[in-house]
């Protein structure tokens, strides 16, 4: 009796297992593409991903946004970015300095950028960083280096 039942059940069980695998492969392959790609990243890369949306918004606003939109975005960025993320904070501060029309204001903001990221305390890397930002901006103001950096101040 047992042997007869096993003989009858073996076929459906094997078919069930095969169908389960086929269904899983068909459904999860394309659907999980992004999840699988995320899983292949290093821990550091994965940790940076949740902030990518905010960073993308900041970059887009810097590229095309009005002066008012940029100022609002930079304030949001400086609120969002932790003090420990010195490079990102310095980048936001450099953007602030570029759109600031007052040389005294520019000097204060660039000093803050130097405090956030000590590699920007030298004039050459500061100018290089500011030039990268002016190239990434497609509208005025902010497409030229600010007076503070052009005029040869320390």
């Amino acid at each position: 009796m047992k042997r007869k039942f096993a003989a009858h059940a073996l076929g459906p069980i094997a078919l069930f297992a095969v169908a389960l695998l086929v269904g899983y492969a068909r459904a999860s392959g394309p659907r999980a593409r992004f999840a699988q790609a995320v899983a292949t990243l290093t821990d550091a890369e994965r940790a940076a991903l949740p902030a990518a949306a905010a960073l993308t918004v900041a970059n887009a606003t810097w590229a095309l946004g009005s002066e008012e939109a940029v100022r609002k975005m930079l304030r949001t960025e400086l609120d969002r970015l932790p003090e420990t993320d010195g490079r990102a904070r310095a980048r936001a501060l450099i953007r602030f300095g570029i759109i600031d029309s007052n040389p005294d204001g520019q000097a204060a903001v660039f000093f803050q950028a130097c405090v956030a990221d000590s590699s920007l305390c030298e004039r050459a890397p500061l100018i290089a960083a500011a030039e990268r930002e002016t190239h990434a901006r497609l509208v005025e103001p902010g497409r030229q280096l600010p007076l503070y950096l052009m005029a040869g101040h320390p």
Binding site: A19, V22, S28, A32, R33, F34, A37, A60
Partner: protein, 129 residues
């Protein structure tokens, strides 16, 4: 062999095949997603799509739609509208193909100085995180 008898022999196979396929395509991925929740969040998947501009089958993009809604809801105005602009430019809700007319529409609503296609095309690269 009568028709009823042959049907009696076939139905366990049909049932096993259908049940296996349904469980494999619905229940197992759902359980796997629950188990994997800590490493692959909606924000992480959107972050990856924003960073990589990946090519993916339509089913993968369809799943990303729900993730985009989660990412969008994490932002406040006007960042949310800027996010919509980036999504349109990068085609993240359109199978990876840019939706220029929608991008221009969102850009104009933001009252930004330039919303022409050339500027929006440049935005595609300049917005990369």
């Amino acid at each position: 062999m009568t028709r009823a008898r042959s049907l009696g022999l076939v139905w366990p196979y049909l049932l096993a095949g259908a049940l296996g396929y349904l469980l494999g395509s619905i229940a197992v991925p759902a359980l796997a997603a629950l188990a994997d929740g800590s490493t692959s969040t909606p924000l992480a998947r959107v972050g990856f799509a924003l960073r990589e501009t990946p090519s993916a089958p339509s089913a993968a993009w369809a799943v990303l739609d729900a993730d985009l809604q989660v990412a969008r809801s994490s932002l406040s105005a006007p960042q949310r509208e800027v996010f919509d602009l980036v999504v349109a430019v990068r085609g993240l809700d359109n199978g990876g193909s840019s939706d220029w007319s929608r991008a221009e529409q969102v850009c104009r609503a933001l009252t930004w100085p330039r919303c022409d296609k050339e500027a929006l095309a440049q935005l595609k690269d300049l917005s990369l995180p």
